[in-house]
């Protein structure tokens, strides 16, 4: 990877980081476990590596934005996540912030 490619990759990851959190929170308004969440995001064009998504779920839960529970589904124990009460409030705020930023960036670009 050349220096400019490397620089682009770093900037791209930096740009995606905040968006991923918002996308994950949006998808978890409906309860899902890790793999189905990953598929749902991919179907909407947002591919996320396993090593990024699964730890992110843990962090968001530790921050109180998500709630989780182990439950059996198709003879397998799976950890299901959904937005917590606090998560819903913060998600609404983040959506407004995202829309404002998006409008500004669009007008700037």
């Amino acid at each position: 990877m050349t220096i400019s490619e490397n620089l682009f990759e770093n900037l791209r990851l930096e740009l995606r980081r905040g968006c991923l959190t918002l996308a994950v929170l949006a998808q978890l308004r409906q309860e899902r476990y890790g793999y189905t969440l990953r598929k749902a995001l991919a179907e909407r064009g947002l591919e996320i590596d396993e090593s990024t998504l699964y730890p992110l779920l843990r962090r968001l839960e530790a921050q109180g934005l998500l709630a989780s529970e182990w439950r059996e589904e198709e003879k397998r124990n799976k950890r299901f996540y959904r937005l917590s009460g606090d998560g819903e409030q913060i998600f609404d705020q983040l959506v407004k912030e995202w829309q404002a930023i998006n409008a500004s960036i669009n007008s700037i670009l």
Binding site: Y33, G34, Y35, R38, E50, S51, T52, R76, N77, K78
Partner: protein, 346 residues
């Protein structure tokens, strides 16, 4: 699938032990669901090569485990600026104290060879490393205490909500006549070399070898010696350098080494002329005298007069150079002052 079990086992070894079982159970559920879907799409189990390609795509066990680890610092960003500042100070003072101790030791033991200096100084790098290690260790302990304590600590480097813009230090003026501000390394070098020069100068009377090298024994054998005015000259140089060294040291410690001190700059030049004036004002321009005038006047008197004439002229040349430098500095400062004043008046 055995390969998946081996993969998860390898991931587990890199996870925090308190949460590793929970994380591995979740990862297993997610990866097995993914595997089931792949196999359902193919209508058969994955071959060994396909399984290896899939696991390779997931990333190495370390890559998979790393994002689960919380970020850990030996010295975190909150106290790092303080750590760096203390480390710099400790290193500077370690070098200074080491040099003082070495100089005193060498003077006390009456050692004159350059090898003794080298021996005395060769342990400085090790002492520096030791100092850095101790400072680092202390800050690691502070970081640990701060991050593991339930008490909220107010760190000196932490951004404070109570700061006021009016408390900001005044703008640092540019140096004399628009020169760039001194760098930190230059300020440190000035202190170190100022000290080295002073130590060397103080040792010269007892050890002329340091000044004239191998010619010292010949100097002692000559019928001439330095006139008493040289002692006044010697102590003036000591005093000037000691004051300058102390001033530079205070600047460094107070963090104001960048600021220009026009008064200090001029004072150094003006007082630097005094030792030269002392030499020029010596009675009969006698900078060297005979050790035994009654015995040697007839034989060496003429040569002594020639030597004194040469030394006196040399002192004049040096005085003229330093005086011209001083005049030049005053002119530059005056022009700079005039420009600033005109700029202020708009």
């Amino acid at each position: 699938m055995e390969l998946l079990d081996r993969y998860l086992q390898a991931v587990k070894k890199h996870l925090p032990w308190k949460r590793q079982d929970d994380i591995i159970a979740e990862l297993r559920a997610n990866l097995e669901a993914q595997l089931d879907e792949k196999e359902a799409a193919l209508g058969r189990p994955l071959t060994n090569d396909e399984a290896m390609a899939w696991l390779k795509q997931l990333g190495s066990p370390i890559q998979m485990a790393a994002p689960y680890l919380t970020q850990q610092y030996l010295i975190g960003p909150a106290i790092f600026p303080t750590y760096r500042y203390v480390l710099q100070l400790a290193c500077v003072w370690t070098v200074v104290i080491n040099l003082i101790v070495s100089a005193v030791k060498i003077a006390a033991e009456d050692i004159t060879s350059p090898a003794a200096w080298f021996e005395a100084l060769q342990h400085v790098p090790f002492t520096l490393l030791l100092t850095a290690a101790w400072v680092t260790l202390i800050f690691v302990v502070i970081e640990y205490a701060v991050t593991h304590s339930k008490t909220k600590w107010i760190l000196p480097a932490a951004p404070s909500a109570g700061w006021s813009p009016s408390e900001l230090p005044p703008l640092e003026e540019r140096g004399v006549a628009g020169q760039k501000p001194r760098s930190y390394s230059k300020a440190v070098a000035e202190v170190i070399f100022g000290f080295l020069f002073l130590a060397w100068w103080l040792l010269v009377p007892q050890h002329p070898y340091l000044l004239v090298g191998p010619g010292a024994p010949y100097l002692l054998a000559l019928p001439y010696t330095f006139a008493p005015v040289y002692m006044q000259f010697f102590w003036w140089v000591v005093a000037l350098n000691a004051v300058q060294l102390a001033w530079n040291g205070v600047d460094l410690l107070s963090g104001s080494w960048q600021r220009s001190h026009p008064v200090k700059h001029l004072a150094t030049k003006v007082f630097g002329l005094i030792p030269l004036v002392l030499l020029l004002a010596a009675p009969d321009h006698a900078l060297m005298i005979l050790k035994h005038p009654a015995l040697d006047q007839a034989r060496y008197g003429g040569t002594l007069a020639q030597i004194n004439k040469g030394l006196y002229q040399a002192a004049w040349v040096v005085f003229a150079i330093v005086a011209l430098q001083l005049v030049w500095e005053i002119v530059k400062m005056s022009i700079d002052f005039y420009r600033k004043r005109m700029a202020a008046m708009g």
